[in-house]
Amino acid sequence: MGLTGLQIFKHLPKTNCKECGFPTCLAFAMALANGQIALDACPHVTEEAKEALSSAAAPPIHKVILGVGDNVIEIGDETEIFRHDKRFNHPTVFAIAVKDDEDVAAKVDTFNGLAFDRVGQHYEADMVALINASGDAAKFKAAAETAAAKTTKNFVLISEDPAAMEAALEVVADRKPLIYAANNDNYEKMTELAKAKECPLAVKAANLDDLAALVEKIVALGYKELVLDPGSRDTSKVLADMTQIRRLAVRKKYRPFGYPTIAFTSKEDPQEEIMQAGIYVAKFASIVVLNTDKKEHLLPLLSLRANIYTDPQKPVQVEPGLHAVGDVNEDSPVYCTTNFSLTYFLVEGEVDATRIPSYIISVDTGGTSVLTAYADNRFTAEKITETIKAVGLEDKVKHRKIVIPGAVAVLKGKLEDESGWEVIVGPRESSGINKFAKDLFA
């Protein structure tokens, strides 16, 4: 159970020295109780107090590091249950299953191709989940060797046989792969391996009770770089378990569940599989292991992850400037909007649907929508004119006509004076663009 600010305050020096960055010890105590800061920030705290406060001082969910170097991925360290309260910190990691009894090289090649560019963002599948399907340690090791030669990305090594795990680790331990998994029978050996190789360790149990007990045993052995698998595989049960783990960790600071989680899909049909995986992205899984490695299945999941893990307090922006939609030429129409991604992509989608190659200028409004930006003086005649000049629009098109959103029709006169361009007032809603364009530009 977490301590309240006042309970924590009793253990602090009460000198209000401000060295922690807070005006008073009480303010610091409150922040600590909310998990917003670590106890280390207080330079004067005593060892005794540290001991007493360790449970309250630690974040509700331990941060676990997967991989090394450029491929480090942090998981865990979440503080919320609802994304609208505060952003989810670490996006769900996708690991693609590769079995050691299939063509590992070919599968890893396919994995390497799982990279996507859309709406100005780059998405990639994160890890290879190498499965000891053969049950043979030498084969598992050989597969790890083959896979490691093919990709620089990290691994989840999947085998409950410590001998097989040890064999594979001989090849890839330097990448700090996730060891999956310690269970009731093998946990001592697996923990020993994880400690020796300094690799994170997944803990697999039969249910939540079993999981809590097993975590406590492993923690007692002195290891805390853990990832939790409650063992459920049916969609509804996984949802319940993942919810309980997150709630108990965040709301109750229940220590055995204060770790990131891993979920496995159970559906054979890949489309059903991604439906299942999507639920786990929304509902708290730190890692999802997938069987499908098809682009058409991964792109929706990666896009969902991008959506769910977007900071709700920070609007998503697109690069301000000139964007070409289709095969533009010097006669192409020019539309103008803001750089709030939601607004921009709605406009882009509609402009694209007109099938008339066009330019869109996105004005830097700090990621605010048309009316908000207008009210805030960020979408003004001057600002638009500046952008027209900055992107060199005069050299891109022969005509001198620009379409502005109908919601800011009032800008027309000023913008014409300011820019010297003829201003056409477009529809109020982006859904009107198709008709508008067909009447005017087709």
Binding site: F82, R118, A212, S236, M275, K295, N307, L342, G349
Partner: protein
């Protein structure tokens, strides 16, 4: 010692809304459909009840959907020019719980069809299928205000779900619902305060309508701001459970309409995004799936393949997960 399962105690629940009406209730539907009534967050059966499974409405247009991508059109064969046959196929072959009839032809830029031209179409569809119906106008408020009254009158007592009432324009739809015993979709522009305000204003017009409102918080497609709708739905559900009766209405998401205009659903010449037919289907199904996790009660969809996937997903989620 075992883990102490954390079950939240909420003060209230989502309102339950009945859609459609049988002969006894003054309509001609073979059955009614109840939505809402949840006493917990989505599918957390371990701490509350989800008395009604979320439903899927399939979209039917009153004109041939010229702009739909080929793979979507192909899924329907030759029924797309005949709304009654189209609706029948959705219900009988694809297992749609409801049909969402969209009167595109009323659009002044398309055919500017009059209520007299639309009413027979509604009658035919009501005859062809016996499930409860959603009726959407063309999406242009001025025109929709002209057609919604006559359409509602022609189907008096059927308890249609009429779309859409908006902040600046709710009286025509709300009055039609009141006068002819229908339910309404109250649509707000991705703003939970407006959603609530709109419900209050509708209730000022008629208190009994409060139990006949479905909230459409305006959704976006996967990858296009889906998270805004997701969070508004989560907040509305949370508000409902904590006693905010003006936010406690069931939720609807117009999924197909949003998804099928997006590049990811449509374009065929982008091999780096994978195969289009599978991708488009996944795009629609994933959008619906995410909204189900946010708390949506009705999803309006287009692709039969995506409908089948979401149905299975709902089946899975309706399995008990009590401890």
């Amino acid at each position: 010692m075992g883990v102490e399962i954390l079950k939240e105690k909420y003060r209230s629940e989502v309102r339950e809304v009945v859609l459609g009406a049988t002969a006894e209730e003054g309509g001609t539907r073979s059955h009614t459909i109840k939505v809402g009534g949840e006493t917990t967050l989505p599918f957390l059966h371990f701490e509350g009840t989800v008395p009604n499974r979320p439903v899927i409405a399939m979209e039917v247009w009153d004109i041939f959907p010229e702009d739909w991508p080929e793979n979507l059109k192909e899924a329907f064969g030759d029924v797309l020019s005949d709304p009654a046959a189209w609706a029948k196929k959705c219900v009988e072959d694809f297992g749609a719980d409801m049909v969402a009839l969209r009167f595109k032809s009323a659009d002044p830029d398309i055919k500017n069809a009059t209520p007299e031209e639309l009413i027979p179409v509604l009658k035919k569809v009501l005859e062809a299928v016996k499930v409860p119906l959603i009726v959407y106008g063309c999406g242009k408020p001025e025109k929709d205000n002209e057609i919604i009254g006559p359409l509602a009158e022609s189907a008096e007592g059927e308890n249609l779900l009429l779309g859409v009432a908006e902040q600046d324009n709710f009286k025509a739809v709300a009055s039609a619902a009141m006068a002819y015993k229908h339910s309404i979709i109250a649509k707000s522009p991705i703003d939970i305060n407006i959603a609530k305000q709109l419900n209050i204003r509708i209730s000022e017009l008629s208190t009994p309508l409060l139990d006949r409102i479905i909230i459409d918080p305006t959704i976006a497609a996967l990858g296009y701001g889906l998270e805004y709708a997701y969070s508004i739905m989560e907040r509305a559900r949370f508000g409902a459970l904590n006693g905010d009766r003006m936010l406690a209405m069931p939720l609807i998401g117009d999924v197909g309409h949003e998804v099928w205009s997006k590049k990811e659903a449509v374009i065929t010449d982008e091999p780096s995004w994978g195969e289009q037919a599978e991708r488009s289907l996944a795009w629609e199904a994933t959008t619906a799936m995410a909204l189900l996790q946010g708390g949506v009660d009705i999803v309006v969809m287009r692709n039969p393949g995506a409908v089948a996937l979401v149905k299975k997903n709902i089946d899975d989620l309706m399995q008990d997960n009590n401890y």
